[in-house]
Amino acid sequence: MGKTLTEKVLGRKAGKDVQAGEVITVSPDYILSHDNSAAIIQEFRKLGVKKVKAPGKIVIVLDHIVPASEEKYAQNHKSIREFVAEQGIPHFFDINAGICHQVLPEQGFALPGKVIVGSDSHTPSYGALGAFATGIGRTETACIWATDEIWLRVPETMRIDLSGRFRAGVFAKDLSLKLIGDHGAEMANYKAVEFAGSAAGDFSVGARLTLANMSAEMGAKNGYFAPDAKTLKWLEGRARGPFVVASSDPDARFESVLAYDLGALEPQVACPHTVDNVKPITAVAGKPVNQVLIGTCTNGRLEDLEAAAAIFKGRKVHPSVRCLVIPASWEVYREALKSGALAVLADAGCVILNSGCGPCLGAHEGIMAAGEVCLSTSNRNFRGRMGHRDSEIYLASPATAAATAVAGKIADPREFA
């Protein structure tokens, strides 16, 4: 019986042959945390050890509330900077790096075959490059800082076979929403999700990051694409060290297999207040919005900003809409400056903010009042997430977001080609 990518990666780490269902203890390659490091430090202090066990494995990226919007956040950031210096943690990214889920791939931490755990639920993003990556909580992170190990149950794998090609105006985000809408927010709870099939190789690394990121909204433990030539090309000049490429054997055991024809999809929108409340764009077009958010760890990459810019070119943000644009990282920001995408967005009347999580998690930079509506390229639309409990969030692709910003109401990007 063959092995899945997840079984191979975890087995190599565990130093033995493993299969789905088994509980193993492994020492991760990297341990991610962000602004919540301040809370993790407090838990770590309770453990009675002075030093973290493997400072070189800890990666800390300040991204959630950057720059600090209030004194208490400033104090959190300060305590993190002091801890980084005290512990000699080499991989620290201050407020000028970007969102952790873009920074770790860019900076060559997210590599094929690596085991990465992070105190953020969208850590599965790194599966886009063939890593096993999964989210954990704060206490668990503090304990791994001290012990350099974590227990994991080797997950069963759901394979999603993709064929055909997207039609114009349809993107990886639409596919992710369609999957979650069809199968529910717990479609892959506790499981690994492999994006495979004849069309998998067509996906850019950015689109793979979008899908692996959204696997968190399927409940997945990890979501991934098997590394291919495109992966290796993207990693040239980025990879921090050697890595071992793994992919699933042809006779690996998949718990279930779904098949999707990309050519049959149309733009999708997740409606309030759950990610699986998904409708085709035609069913929600016309709904007025107050705010549009283009960015986040799901859809803030260069190709996302360019897809938005293609629609904004020669057009303006509707006077009743506030359109916020947040490049996922400062590398993306600089690339979008060079490509001209940011100029198009600024000329259209978008408000371009510094790289970071922005208002996605409801802490700053675009919080909504009661009754307001936002169409966002982010990954969650839970009640109250971006402000008042009676505000509403719709989720869609950057192209749908741009079309909506221009129209002042939810709009079909295919009408703006």
């Binding site: 509980v23 919540n36 309770k46 503090a142 227990w151 409940g219 839970f382 009640r383």
Partner: protein
């Protein structure tokens, strides 16, 4: 044995409604977290919850963010266990790591309603109520040690001392 009353909710209760994002990056003591527990889902909960109460919900309880406060705030509000059809995986780990019991039992979810009185018998793996006795799925062996230690911090501290 512990006795409490039931707070009943539906499927996909997410971490944003259990503990809103606007408080997530403020560091606060657990008793302060309890005041915001389920704030955006059921404003009655934070004022009405008492030690020994049980949250009963449907599928995928705790989906969404990895924020640990979503487990801590319920525990601090007095909740002794969450009984659901299924749990989102990070929530499941977080709850165990903080010493909050997370129990899977479809029959209890089907039968129990808001305000019902229940007794939990962890030793026997049973939920007792006027509507019947329900058996919950035994927890995986790998996590029982953590729960017995009172959570992962205590478990790890003991392990580190031994080393």
């Amino acid at each position: 044995m512990s006795q409490g009353k039931v707070w009943k909710y539906g499927d996909n209760v997410n971490t944003d409604v259990i503990f809103p994002g606007r408080y997530t990056y403020q560091i606060m003591p657990p008793e302060e977290m309890a005041k915001h527990a389920l704030e955006d889902l059921d404003p009655e909960f934070a004022v009405g919850a008492r030690p020994g109460d049980v949250v009963v919900a449907g599928k995928n309880f705790g989906c969404g963010s990895s924020r640990e406060q979503a487990a801590a705030c319920l525990k601090s509000a007095g909740v002794i266990a969450v009984v659901a059809r299924s749990f989102a995986r990070i929530y499941f780990r977080n709850a165990i790591n903080l010493g909050l019991a997370v129990l899977q039992c479809d029959e209890a979810v089907d039968a129990l309603e808001k305000g019902d009185t229940v007794d939990l018998d962890f030793a026997r793996g049973e939920i007792h109520s006027a509507k019947g006795t329900f058996q919950f799925l035994p927890l995986p062996e790998s996590v029982i040690g953590i729960l017995e230690a009172g959570g992962l911090l205590e478990y790890t501290r003991k392990k580190l001392v031994k080393e």
